[in-house]
C-alpha cells in the first residue's frame, strides 16, 4: 500500500476535472456549495475580496474553522497556506486537508523560496501566470496548477490573459526541434525534463484549473472553452446576491460550457453578480497575481 505517490496526488486533481471548487468561510457556506454540486471547497478565513478590502497580513485559516467545514461536507476540503510557509503547510497536512493551496492570495512568508512539496503526503495546488512558473511549481512537487487570475476582483481578464499565455507557450514549445529545448528551458526558467515532457505531449503534466475573477456562469464557460480543466470560484459565489443560485448555475455552466443554450438558461434571472473591480484601478503593489515567481 503506497501512499502519497505522484499518481495518487495528481489523481485526485483528475477526479475534480470538469468541476467547480468554491471558496467558503463557514460550514453553512460549505453545505450550500456541496448542495449546488461543487466538487470541492476551499476553507478560508475570508474570501479574497474581503482580504483585499481589509489589507494587513493574510494567513492560514483557523484550524477550528477547517475542522468545522470538514465535518459539514463529504466532498474534498482544501485550504490555503502562505507562499513558502512550510509550517502552515505541515499544520494543514496534520489537519488532513485533501489539498493544500500554496497561495498568492495570502501574504507571502518567504520572498525567495516556495515550499518543497515533494516532502508532503498531501498534494499541493499552486498558481501560475505562464508556462515557466507552472513548470517551476511542478518541479517543486505541485500536483495541480491553477492559472492565476486577479482574485477578489470579479474581473475575468487576468485569468484569460494567463491561460492564453500558457496555451501559447505550450504551442510554441511543441513546434521546437529537440536541439532547441535546452535554451527554451533556460528562457522559461523551467526544469529541462518537464520542458521536454510538455514538448512531447503538448500539455501540462498535471491538471490545470482557472482561478481568480470568475463571477458568472458565462465566465466559467469561457475559461472551459479556453482549455482549462475546471474552475475555482472565490468571492464570485458568496459575494453575489444569490449564492445558492450562482453556485448551482456556475456548476451547470462548467459542465455544459460548449452548449450556449444551457449557459443562457442557467444565467437567467440570477440577480446581481459580485461587484467588480477594474484591474488598472488596483495599485501595482496590491496585485495578488504578481506574488510568487
Amino acid at each position: 500500500m503506497e501512499k502519497g505517490t505522484s499518481r495518487v496526488k495528481r489523481g485526485l486533481a483528475e477526479m475534480l476535472k470538469g468541476g467547480v471548487i468554491m471558496d467558503v468561510v463557514t460550514a453553512e457556506q460549505a453545505k450550500i456549495a456541496e448542495e449546488a454540486g461543487a466538487v470541492a471547497v476551499m476553507a478560508l478565513e475570508r474570501v479574497p475580496s474581503d482580504i483585499r478590502k481589509m489589507g494587513g497580513v493574510a494567513r492560514m485559516a483557523d484550524p477550528t474553522k477547517i475542522e468545522e467545514i470538514q465535518a459539514a461536507v463529504s466532498i474534498p476540503v482544501m485550504a490555503k497556506c502562505r507562499i513558502g510557509h512550510f509550517l502552515e503547510a505541515r499544520v494543514l497536512e496534520a489537519l488532513n486537508v485533501d489539498y493544500i493551496d500554496e497561495s498568492e492570495v495570502l501574504t507571502p512568508a518567504d520572498n525567495e523560496h516556495h515550499i518543497d512539496k515533494w516532502s508532503f503526503t498531501t498534494p499541493f495546488v499552486c498558481g501560475a501566470r505562464n508556462l515557466g512558473e507552472a513548470l517551476r511549481r511542478i518541479g517543486e512537487g505541485a500536483a495541480m496548477i491553477r492559472t492565476k487570475g486577479e482574485a477578489g476582483t470579479g474581473n475575468v481578464v487576468e485569468a484569460v490573459t494567463h491561460m492564453r499565455t500558457v496555451t501559447n507557450e505550450i504551442r510554441k514549445l511543441s513546434q521546437l526541434g529537440p536541439e532547441q529545448l535546452m535554451s527554451s528551458a533556460r528562457d522559461l526558467g523551467a526544469p529541462f525534463d518537464l520542458v521536454r515532457e510538455v514538448h512531447e505531449t503538448g500539455r501540462l503534466p498535471v491538471v490545470n484549473f482557472a482561478a481568480g475573477g470568475i463571477a458568472t456562469p458565462a465566465d466559467a464557460a469561457l475559461m472551459m472553452a479556453l482549455g482549462v480543466d475546471g474552475v475555482f470560484v472565490g468571492s464570485g459565489i458568496f459575494k453575489s446576491s444569490d449564492p445558492p443560485g450562482y453556485a448551482r448555475a456556475i456548476v451547470e455552466a462548467t459542465t455544459f460550457w460548449a452548449d450556449p443554450e444551457v449557459v443562457a438558461k442557467v444565467s437567467r434571472g440570477l440577480g446581481e453578480a459580485m461587484p467588480g473591480l477594474e484591474i488598472d484601478k488596483i495599485p501595482a503593489n496590491e496585485k495578488l497575481a504578481e506574488r510568487g515567481w
Partner: protein, 190 residues
C-alpha cells in the same frame, strides 16, 4: 463496426476513459444528455465527485433514462464515483443513486486524501495482478445476492460484478491497464 461505448461526461476523469476506449479500438462517446445515451451499446460512469455527477444527472433528466437502459441489460462499468452512483444505497447521507447494483457502499471508506494509495491487487479471473489506484475511495460495505466479489482490500470488496454491471473502487483509467475495460467490451460480443 466498433462498439459504441458511452462515457458519462458530466464531471470527472471521463477523458481518461475515452482514451482507454480509443486504445482498445472502441468508439468512445461523451454522454451528457438522454439523446446521447440512446445511441450507445454500453456505458462507463467515470471517477469524479459522486454528489456532483448525481445532482447534474438528476437536473438534466438522465437518472430515469440511465436506470431504464441498465435494467434493459446495457453493460455498464462504474469506477469509484461510478460505483457509488450504481449502488442501491450509501452508508452515509443522501444523494441521487441509480440503485442498479445490489450493494451498500461506504464513501471515502479508506479515509481522506492522505490515505489514498496504490497497490498490486489480485483479481479473480485475471492471471497477473492489477495496479490499482484508490483515491478517497469507497468500498462495498454490504453485498446483495447475485453480486460476485472479484477483488478485496483487507476483506473489503473493491471490485464487484452483478450480471452485466461491473464496479470498481479504483481507477484503471489512470494506469494504462485496460483489462477491466476489455471485460466490458467482451460482454458486448457475447
Amino acid at each position: 463496426m466498433p462498439a459504441r461505448v458511452g462515457v458519462l461526461s458530466l464531471q470527472g476523469d471521463f477523458r481518461e476513459h475515452l482514451k482507454t476506449l480509443a486504445a482498445l479500438g472502441a468508439d468512445g462517446i461523451e454522454v451528457r444528455t438522454p439523446a446521447q445515451l440512446e445511441g450507445v451499446d454500453a456505458l462507463i460512469i467515470p471517477g469524479g465527485e459522486s454528489t456532483t455527477i448525481g445532482k447534474l444527472a438528476e437536473r438534466f433528466g438522465l437518472m430515469g433514462p440511465l436506470r431504464h437502459r441498465i435494467e434493459a441489460g446495457m453493460p455498464v462499468y462504474g469506477t469509484c464515483a461510478g460505483m457509488i452512483l450504481l449502488a442501491r444505497e450509501v452508508t452515509d447521507g443522501e444523494q441521487p443513486l441509480l440503485g442498479a447494483l445490489d450493494v451498500v457502499v461506504e464513501r471515502n471508506a479508506f479515509g481522506r486524501q492522505n490515505e489514498s494509495f496504490e497497490e498490486e491487487l489480485a483479481i479473480d479471473g485475471l492471471d497477473e495482478p492489477f495496479r490499482a489506484v484508490f483515491i478517497r475511495a469507497p468500498w462495498v460495505a454490504k453485498v446483495g445476492e447475485g453480486v460476485e466479489v472479484l477483488a478485496a482490500v483487507d476483506d473489503h470488496p473493491v471490485l464487484v460484478r452483478q450480471g452485466h454491471i461491473l464496479a470498481s473502487a479504483f481507477h484503471p483509467e489512470l494506469t494504462g491497464d485496460h483489462r477491466l475495460h476489455q471485460m466490458l467490451l467482451d460482454w458486448l460480443v457475447d
